[in-house]
Point group: C2
Chain length 364, copies 2
């Protein structure tokens, strides 16, 4: 009998077995094995599962498909995470309809959980491109991971800016990780996977179907702390990401733009509806007290931060918002283990880090 993980991965290869539909099925039948064993009549009783999808579930050679998918992923160096995997992004796990399966090429570090999404129009203007690149660079330089969608226009500029700023970035794709879209972003994707990760819920070989993108957008906001929309037309995917972000309880920010520019109509509307008007990374980070610590010391609020050395500040960044065992801190820190331990002690004495039982450290 194949294990649950393999069956889950197999079910996820069915194109329409996603989001709310998958969540409902797992909830009703308890597991992938339970779903695969369910009578067709009980499957079609669920909202969103018609006879075609029920038939596909019933006839799925789940064990073989799941094992083959895992073998191909291994060959490509891609990690497949299921919902209960400890490496599955914590924030994403908590959205209403998280993907059961997440493909990852590259690595996610603890601080990536505090990433900020920077998204926007594919048909961006020169203004939008400039701003996206600048914003990505500012976040990157502050040690804040930039999340985006690898699309043409704003997304690509945001990723590039993060890399140029020396930071990390992750791209959530609307196709299989082995099917980089758009093709001209292949090289950018490779860089991202070495300084962050490519993520996708779609099985290997999936084309970038139009209906994938709203699903992809919920993952972009799902893995992020907040979402900045740089440019967006009034009816656009980027506004969809903003809606999704609000549903998920994420803060939404927008870059204002000329009222004469159609690609700023969406962002100006967001601001009118209450999104934070943003002129730079600082405006975003100041909304999150625990991220504001990442701003250059000269401008940091609390007096304690002003006196930090660069290695101390880098270590504070590395710790991120959630508590972290010392081994992980040492792993993600640039210096040798002994130096990191000494810095941790210094930060503890300055009241910026607290040690919890089991050598787990957290920002105060």
């Amino acid at each position: 009998m194949a294990n649950e993980r393999t069956l889950t991965i197999a079910l996820n290869t069915l194109p329409r077995f996603r989001a709310a539909i998958a969540c409902e099925a797992y909830e009703r039948f308890g597991s992938a094995a339970g779903i695969l064993a369910a009578p067709a009549g009980e499957l079609t009783a669920l909202r969103g599962i018609g006879p075609v999808l029920a038939g596909a579930v019933r006839t799925l050679a789940a064990e073989r498909v799941g094992e083959e998918e895992q073998r191909r992923a291994r060959e490509l160096g891609i990690t497949i995470l299921t919902l209960d995997d400890p490496e599955y992004p914590e924030r994403l796990r908590l959205i209403p309809d998280p993907p059961r399966v997440l493909y990852r090429l590259g690595e996610l570090l603890p601080q990536d959980g505090d990433g900020i999404a920077v998204v926007g129009a594919r048909a961006a203007t020169a203004y939008g491109r400039t701003v996206a690149e600048r914003l990505g660079r500012e976040f990157g330089a502050a040690g804040v991971t930039v999340i985006s969608g690898l699309a043409r226009g704003i997304d690509g500029c945001a990723h590039r800016g993060a890399l140029a700023g020396g930071g990390r970035t992750a791209a959530v794709l609307g196709a299989g990780i082995d099917r980089i879209y758009p093709p001209e972003h292949a090289r950018l994707a490779a860089e991202i996977s070495s300084r962050g990760a490519l993520l996708s819920e779609f099985p290997l070989g999936s084309d970038p179907e139009p209906w994938h993108f709203p699903l992809r957008n919920r993952v972009i906001s799902g893995v992020s702390r907040g979402v900045v929309v740089v440019e967006a037309a009034v009816r656009s995917g980027a506004l969809g990401t903003a809606d999704m972000a609000l549903e998920q309880g994420r803060e939404v920010f927008a870059i204002p733009g000329p009222i004469t520019s159609p690609t700023s109509a969406g962002t100006n509307r967001l601001i009118r509806q209450g999104a934070g008007l943003v002129e730079g990374a600082r405006d975003v980070l100041e909304s999150f007290p625990d991220l504001a610590v990442l701003l250059p010391a000269a401008d940091a609020g609390p007096a304690a931060l002003a006196g930090l050395s660069d290695p101390e500040r880098l270590l504070l960044r590395a710790i991120g918002a959630s508590p972290l065992p010392i081994d992980d801190i040492i792993r993600v820190s640039p210096g040798p283990a002994a130096a990191t331990a000494a810095l941790l002690t210094a930060l503890e004495l300055k009241g910026l880090v607290r040690q919890h039982p089991g050598k787990i450290f957290a920002r105060t």
Copy 2:
């Protein structure tokens, strides 16, 4: 003995006898005559009055100066209003430090009391000019008077837009009405005086001194229902007008712009501080239920408005926000008296106008 009006006009010719200083003096001594008769020691006891200004008051040949100023104004076709004159703009009378004397070239109609100020940078960009002109045109077409400062840049475009939209406009000057500044706006000023009014608190012949402009700004917002800032640098007169407007309880609106444009830094900041983000006249008018009636019928909210004829809508505009005697309504309406009376009855039957005792009509 010269009358109070003449003495008030004379006192107002003293360059520094303005705003808070004048208000305090009138409050302390009760009248222009009282101020002119006050001992120097009592004058200098007031905040803002030093020995030089006290000396100027004491040695003022008030009767002669006041009569000469009125004679010159008459020759130029300029009306001089004092604070208690029935034609003095009602809103302006109610600000904390209204000018005691207001020069007017042209005419103010009741609906001008519902005017909206459109102001901004002198060093405006092409974007700002386009938007100011468009906004002025939209207000003009909706029958909303555009108030501005006749300055280069945004102000001039706003006035021109209002005129192009077939509307009314008023300019508040930082110099004497007979000293149009900037000189290249002489022709625009003439047009404004025939389709609205030029207003100034400064005596005839006054130069456009830099310190006049903050005073002028309080009058711009003072005569207006709300203020829209189109473009403004972070330290700029237009932001001063916005501050003044907030102190006077006026609503403040701002046009968003590129975060890369210094002349949008001020407006973007205003929006961040709570000013309404505006993309067109509609956004402003919708903030004032009684002005929203001026929007084209197709989009108007209440069903009753959709069925209005053009003459009925024009009459509703003419009535403005405050109750108006039928004689005034007939005077400001384009058609013959009998037609206006019939239209009034129709509007009354539709529940949009109510008749009060003394044949005074008001919008419901």
